[in-house]
């Protein structure tokens, strides 16, 4: 029988993060993945929001993962009458030019290459990865988890198991650690992937997501509050299209999703003007996939309280029910929880105590994590059902604005400010890391510069076209900032510490300030065309610069 310090189940988004950190701490770590190639069973329509990158694992923030397109905002279509073409737009959540698209709200990604990239980074750190291996059971001795049994009948012992199995959580349910979720909190996502020329995606979408919301009776989308209207994600040379609906309605009835998804897709794509006129003639269906996710677990107090650890085991990401209710994006929470799980695993292994009582510090830290808690309890998608119930356009507008428009900042600012202050207190140098990340990610996207086996390697560069003077200034400025942050670290830490108690006022303050900010943004829209040349210059600069300009200092440029 083989023995490891840590066995990580699943090489999705969270597993490699936990495994890498444990291996780096010197623990013998094995990661088991049931698919033959990492990530090929992971499905999502995926924007990974900026906060995942800013506050998540350093190797991702400072690295070069494969992304499909930066995202600078959301256009929400509130469809009042599809046949009459009567709809209104809320595009208040947008990063204006000249900041967009270098500064991004997040990055779209295909799951397969991104998970593959993460797994390769874990392997480089010493993790042993075994693919084509399904874990069928947790091994237990006196109630304590002591390892796993694979589909080949092999028993692998571990001092600690980290379970990143995904939302279904069969192993934790099988071992009696958690219960199977009720169907009304699970959403089935029906995802279409359309190929489209990059120039067309650039022209039609730019960097902006499109979401549609409409009254139930139009039958163009799942009932409000029970899934997503329609989400369209622009990728590099494709468009991802997703609708999802909960497996049961409030009255417990299970909808005929086979019939309904076809109906929504047909009704919407045959009527929606921009789909018919702009997308349909240029897009070619490349894939249709579907998958479940635990959308409303966090909103249900009883389900949220289910154990996320037991003797010898910690659950991370979707396996711990950490799906975001509004953006439907579990990746940041998977990263955060995997990072915390690894910290706790390391502490537990060093202390020689993997009991549930020792591991309860994992639960405490997850529950104290501002962004995890905000993202799993944000109410607006759920509340859309009340707009339908009252057939109130005003309510519909408000929920959409507060969920996927600028109004969201009145609900997430406290969490965001807390995270910024915590991160800065821990390492003031992170500020320079944030500033480097955005241009580097844009450069990488532009040149497809992703450092993993599926990447194209370093793109050819023409040093004679490099903006040498400007890049020297930027590089010098960033290094100066590194030095200042290192030198002034005690001061920055103290300032962040002093500000922390005030973070709780960020949401109410934002609520007060939002009308002004929104007016400002509307005004900016009018003058924005004047900034297009500047925006183009910034894009040209980042695109032509030596990428070492934006490399994380410890990885060190050349």
């Amino acid at each position: 029988m083989q023995e490891y310090d840590v066995v990580v189940i699943g090489a999705g988004f969270g597993g490699p993060v936990a495994a890498k950190k444990c291996a780096e701490a010197g623990f013998r770590t094995l990661m088991l993945e049931r698919s033959a190639k990492v990530g090929e069973k992971v499905i999502s329509g995926l924007t990974i929001p900026f906060y995942g990158f800013l506050f998540g694992p350093a190797f991702i923030r400072d690295g070069n993962p494969p992304i499909e397109r930066p995202v600078d905002g959301i256009v929400n279509y509130i469809i009042k009458d599809i046949e009459a073409g009567d709809m209104e737009i809320d595009d208040s959540l947008r990063i204006p030019k000249p900041l967009s698209p270098i500064l991004a709200f997040g990055y779209n990604a295909y799951c397969q290459p991104f998970c593959q990239w993460e797994a390769e980074k874990a392997v480089e750190s010493g993790v042993e990865l075994r693919t084509s291996t399904t874990v069928v059971e947790l091994l237990r001795e006196d109630g304590r988890v002591v390892g796993v049994r694979t589909d080949k009948g092999e028993e692998i012992r571990a001092r600690l198991v980290i379970d990143g199995e995904g939302s279904q959580g069969l192993l934790a349910v099988g071992a009696g650690i958690r219960e199977k979720y009720p169907p009304e909190v699970i959403s089935l996502a029906d995802v279409y992937d359309y190929e489209m020329a990059k120039e067309d995606v650039d022209e039609i979408f730019g960097y902006t997501l499109r979401f549609c919301w409409g009254w139930d009776e139009q039958k163009i989308a799942p009932p409000l509050g029970h899934g997503n209207g329609l989400m369209v994600w622009p990728y590099r040379e494709s468009v991802h299209f997703c609708q999802d609906q909960c497996l049961a309605m409030d009255d417990g009835k299970v909808p005929n999703l086979r019939k309904l998804f076809e109906e929504y897709h047909r009704n919407l794509t045959s009527h929606l003007p921009w789909w018919k006129e702009e997308i349909e003639p240029r897009a070619r269906l490349r894939a249709r996939v579907f998958e479940n996710f635990e959308i409303f677990v966090g909103l249900n107090e009883r389900l949220r309280a289910m154990p996320n650890h037991a003797d010898g085991i910690i659950l991370i990401g979707d396996a711990a029910g950490l799906e975001s209710t509004e953006l439907c994006d579990g990746v940041p929470a998977a990263w955060f929880s995997a990072d915390i799980a690894a910290d706790v695993a390391i502490e537990a292994l060093r202390a020689g105590d993997v009991s549930a009582s020792f591991l309860s510090r994992y639960d405490e830290r997850v529950r104290a994590h501002p962004i995890i808690q905000w993202s799993i309890t944000a109410p607006h998608r759920y509340n859309l059902r009340f707009a339908q119930e009252h057939h109130s356009l005003e309510e519909l507008r408000r929920y959409v604005h507060d969920g996927w428009g600028l109004g969201g900042f009145a609900f997430m600012s406290t969490a965001l400010v807390r995270m910024i202050l915590q991160a800065v207190r821990e390492d003031p140098g992170i500020i320079a890391s944030w500033l480097r990340m955005f241009p580097r990610y844009y450069y990488n996207w532009l040149h497809e510069r992703y450092d993993y086996s599926g990447g194209k390697g370093e793109p050819p560069r023409d040093p004679s076209r490099e903006p040498r003077a400007a890049q020297a200034v930027v590089r010098g400025g960033l290094r100066l900032m590194d030095a200042a942050l290192a030198l002034g670290a005690p001061l920055v830490r103290a300032a962040a510490g002093l500000l922390e108690p005030a973070a709780r006022f960020a949401n109410p303050a934002m609520k007060l300030l939002l009308p002004g900010i929104e007016a400002l943004m509307r005004g900016w829209k009018k003058v924005e065309p004047a900034f297009v040349p500047l925006s183009d210059r910034i894009i040209r600069f980042v695109g032509r610069a030596d990428p070492a300009t934006f490399a994380a200092p410890e990885r060190g440029g050349r």
């Binding site: 993945e33 084509s132 080949k152 029906d190 497996l247 049961a248 999703l257 998804f261 996939v289 579907f290």
Partner: protein, 89 residues
């Protein structure tokens, strides 16, 4: 060996998955919830009981397992390296 189906472009099913979902007939009351949520058409009702037609197009989402009110569906993951795969998820 992998199979493809026109209905689900961009997806392949690697052989060897076997019957990783099972209906416990004694528990099934034929409510057809599993039939309604399965986008891969894996189920049918025959003799007032749910029956697995085949798992050829199953994408392992477990919707059937969630919606069964009588716990009549046993769901497990297929053996490693088998079942569906896609590059476009």
């Amino acid at each position: 060996m992998a199979r493809t189906f026109e209905e689900f472009p961009g997806v392949e099913w690697v052989e060897g998955a076997g019957l990783f979902i099972r209906v416990i007939e004694e528990r099934c009351d034929g409510c057809a919830n599993c039939v309604k949520v399965c986008l891969a058409d894996c189920y049918e009702i025959s003799g007032k009981k749910a029956r697995i037609r085949d798992l050829d197009k199953c994408m392992e989402c477990a919707s059937c397992w969630y919606v069964c009110p009588r716990d009549a569906i046993e769901f497990s993951w297929p053996p490693g390296g088998t079942g569906f795969r896609t590059d476009w998820g």
